[in-house]
């Protein structure tokens, strides 16, 4: 029996195990929507903007480890989803995006709502396809899912012209895929792994530097074994949070521009950096010429281009993190003995000294304005037993969430790292909630970034996605304001938002629940009320507007030269507002 292109599309999705499709209709995809409307296996979540659909697919993918799928129309539908594709490309998120295209006969004619979808998406997808013949559709979709989810994952676009979705063909779904130019290396080179094991045995000051690759390859268990067996401290990148338990004694927390003091110091002074599924991003390395000056570098990554892109690597291992770590652990299990512990005692003494010297610190006065760190800390303490999924936008709140929300497990952390996309958090949280209806999904946002995809609240209400949004509302693009205070002599060029909507009323206008924390004493009660609500909630938390995020390595700075608190002139300037004095010891809280 022959099926239409639209029916083939749905059959393929079912065979790929897709349960949820984030989508927004338009002229050239009407046939597909019409066919979707007549089936029950795949839930269609109607978003209000294609960017939202893209980020929801990302959130779904990050939380489940499977491909997230979205469907958009041609022209503006496609251009709107580009940001999400670029985001997924930077952060290696498996997303399969289907776009509508004008009929093949009109391609290139500047037809209504035509855009060069392949050209537009080429630099921000792992691969893209234009399907010109309905007979190729099934095989193309199979390849799209295969490419998106294997090797270093990433977004793949499939562009389907209108006539292809209407035309009929016999349906056969291929069992396997073979692409001669695409064969990701999974097994690491055995000799190199042996070299790595030897280097680990000998190192006096080793550090594990782990990133999103550990999360995507599902190597957390192997990482835990490696770290515990060898007693090596673990630094996590922003994308790697959750790969290793945040509360574990071996965890140094996040490293990089706003990483913890001990994480950055340990990196800088180490004699062996063991990088696993991380890519030496500029927010981690700081000044490349002075990065880890004493260290040998082992780099495990499935993407050969990541290796030696920014940093010289002594022992490169191309392969899947999990596969490589298993092999590495097997060698180490046979060789590790008590000697390493003695060998590294001075290193651990040094690390504990760093930890005690400069823990993450902020000052919450009992009757003072709410400090954003306090909100994240309480939110963490109130929810950690429920194993929540946490999404963030981009900015100060994101860094505070990364510092204070100590995730215990992988696939709980949805954040935009590489592209730094404001407006990512809320739709990503919704994507995760759509995958796990019963789980607690939090979105920590700023008052600036939440407004970039606020329209999706309609989707959350309609599709019953009870995400809890906590807005750290400081009236500023806070990170921009922080840089202006530190590097632009306090001139707040376009960082003061001026007016912000009443988020409580805004939530109510959408049919969601709006709550506000009026003073720090109410924080717990309001958060608890929000957590007990089964609808989408916005918790508006007006916070101290001039709080800065520390530690901070200035852009291009060296990793051991962190700014740890506001410089004196800044404190003077801000003392007109709320009083912030480090001497105020009895109100000092440390995390």
């Amino acid at each position: 029996m022959k099926l239409t292109g639209a029916e083939i599309f749905i059959e393929c999705l079912k065979r790929e195990g897709v349960k949820t499709l984030f989508a927004l209709p338009g002229g050239v995809v009407l046939k597909i929507f019409d066919t979707l409307h007549q089936q029950k296996d795949i839930e269609v979540i109607l978003t209000r903007h294609e960017q939202g659909a893209g980020h929801m697919a990302e959130g779904y993918a990050k939380a489940t480890g499977k491909a997230g799928v979205c469907l958009v129309t041609s022209g503006p539908g496609m251009t709107n989803v580009i940001t999400a594709l670029a985001d997924a490309y930077m952060d290696s998120v498996p997303v399969v995006c289907f776009s509508g295209q004008v009929p093949t006969s009109l391609i290139g004619n500047d037809a209504f709502q035509e855009a060069d979808n392949i050209g537009l998406s080429r630099p921000c997808t792992k691969y893209n396809f234009l399907v010109k013949d309905v007979n190729d559709l099934a095989a193309t979709i199979k390849e799209a899912f295969y490419i998106a989810t294997t090797g270093r994952p990433g977004p793949v676009l499939v562009d389907i012209p209108k006539d292809v979705s209407m035309a009929k063909a016999d349906f056969t779904y291929p069992n396997s895929v073979s692409i001669r130019g695409y064969n990701p290396t999974v097994e690491g080179n055995k000799w190199q792994i042996k070299q790595a094991a030897e280097a680990i045995m000998k190192a006096k000051k080793p550090i594990l530097y782990v990133g999103g690759g550990v999360v995507f390859s599902g190597a957390s268990q192997e990482l835990l074994e490696l770290a515990e067996m060898t007693q090596i401290p673990v630094d996590m990148t922003l994308m790697g949070l959750g790969a290793f338990p945040g509360e574990h004694p071996l965890s140094m927390g996040m490293l990089g521009m706003h990483g913890t003091y001990q994480a950055n110091m340990a990196m800088h002074y180490s004699d062996l950096v063991i990088a696993i599924g991380a890519r030496f991003d500029d927010r981690v390395t700081g000044k490349v010429s002075e990065f880890c000056p004493h260290a040998k570098v082992i780099h495990v990554d499935i993407d050969p281009t990541s290796i030696r892109k920014n940093i010289h690597v002594d022992i490169p291992i191309v392969g899947d993190c999990r596969t490589v770590l298993r092999e590495l652990n097997q060698i180490l299990r046979a060789t590790v003995n008590g000697e390493q512990k003695d060998l590294r005692k001075p290193w651990w003494d040094q690390i504990r000294e760093w930890q005690q010297a400069h823990p993450l610190t902020y000052h919450q006065e009992k009757d003072g304005p709410v400090k954003p760190q306090q909100v994240v800390k309480r939110l963490y303490e109130l929810t950690k037993d429920r194993d929540p999924i946490v999404a963030t936008d981009v900015g100060q709140h994101q860094m505070w969430a990364a510092q204070y929300f100590k995730l215990a497990k992988p696939n709980r952390w949805l954040t935009s790292g590489g592209l730094g996309t404001m407006g990512f958090g809320f739709p990503a949280a919704m994507g995760a909630q759509a995958a796990f209806r019963d789980r607690l999904v939090l979105c920590i946002a700023g008052d600036g970034s939440i407004q970039m995809n606020m329209q999706e609240m309609a989707t959350a209400v309609l599709s019953k996605l009870p995400v809890k949004i906590i807005i750290l509302n400081n009236g500023f693009h806070g990170m921009v304001r922080q840089w202006q205070d530190l590097f632009y002599e306090g001139r707040y060029a376009s960082s003061n938002l001026g007016t912000t909507p009443d988020f409580v009323k805004l939530a109510e206008a959408y049919g969601a629940v709006g709550l506000r924390v009026k003073k720090v004493g109410d924080l717990d009660a309001v958060l608890k009320e929000a957590l007990a609500t089964d609808k989408p909630v916005i918790v508006d938390v007006p916070t101290y507007p001039y709080e800065n995020c520390y530690p901070m390595i200035p852009a291009g700075g060296c990793n051991h030269e962190m700014i740890l608190e506001d410089p004196p002139e800044l404190k003077m300037k801000q003392s007109g507002g709320a009083k912030v004095t480090p001497e105020d010891k009895d109100t000092v809280l440390t995390a």
């Binding site: 392949i118 050209g119 080429r122 630099p123 792992k126 691969y127 234009l130 490419i147 692409i179 001669r180 130019g181 695409y182 993407d303 050969p304 281009t305 290796i307 030696r308 892109k309």
Partner: protein, 172 residues
């Protein structure tokens, strides 16, 4: 340093833009690029002349390999190779210059492939230095148009000493 990179790709639409986009997007140089189908019509062969330090060339090779439509990448600088470029040069030839033009063609073992009373169209192949040299000599006559193919290159087969080869044949 200049490198010649030989890239075997799928012969499909859009592949050239993927390769060109990779170079422009990452700020790599392309000095020349030539592309044509191979013996197997499902594949095309690209020869890319680029430049950069060791680290950049390593990235170029890795990034090319990462492209899904790229089947094979060889940095020819890692082996012995031969390369050629063809130029087609249209020169003005006044009466007195026509003999001179032919002399130059002769010296460079070039060919006249088209002729009018006032022009010669000359085809010349060789390494880039040879092409530059003939251009320099023809320039005083007046070059009307010049097109160059960019370089194509191929790795040289390793040559075994004749004695060894003879032995091998004997054994077989």
């Amino acid at each position: 340093m200049e490198h010649i990179i030989s890239v075997t790709v799928e012969n499909k639409f859009g592949v050239l833009s993927r390769v060109a986009g990779l170079f422009s997007g990452r700020g790599f140089n392309i000095e020349s690029l030539s592309v044509a189908p191979t013996l197997d019509p499902s594949m095309s062969q690209m020869t890319i002349v680029t430049s950069g330090d060791e680290r950049i060339i390593e990235q170029i090779v890795k990034q090319l390999n990462k492209l899904i439509d790229v089947i094979k990448v060889v940095d020819l600088n890692e082996t012995e190779f031969v390369s050629r470029e063809t130029a087609i040069i249209k020169v003005h030839t006044k009466d007195v210059d026509r003999a001179e033009a032919l002399r130059i063609v002769d010296i460079f073992r070039a060919n006249v492939i088209d002729s009018t009373p006032t022009t010669y169209t000359i085809e010349v192949s060789g390494d880039p230095k040879k092409i530059e040299a003939i251009i320099n000599l023809l320039q005083p006559l007046g070059i009307k148009e010049l097109v160059r193919t960019g370089r194509v290159a191929v790795a040289r087969e390793p040559v075994r000493p004749a004695a060894v080869q003879a032995k091998k044949v004997a054994r077989e």
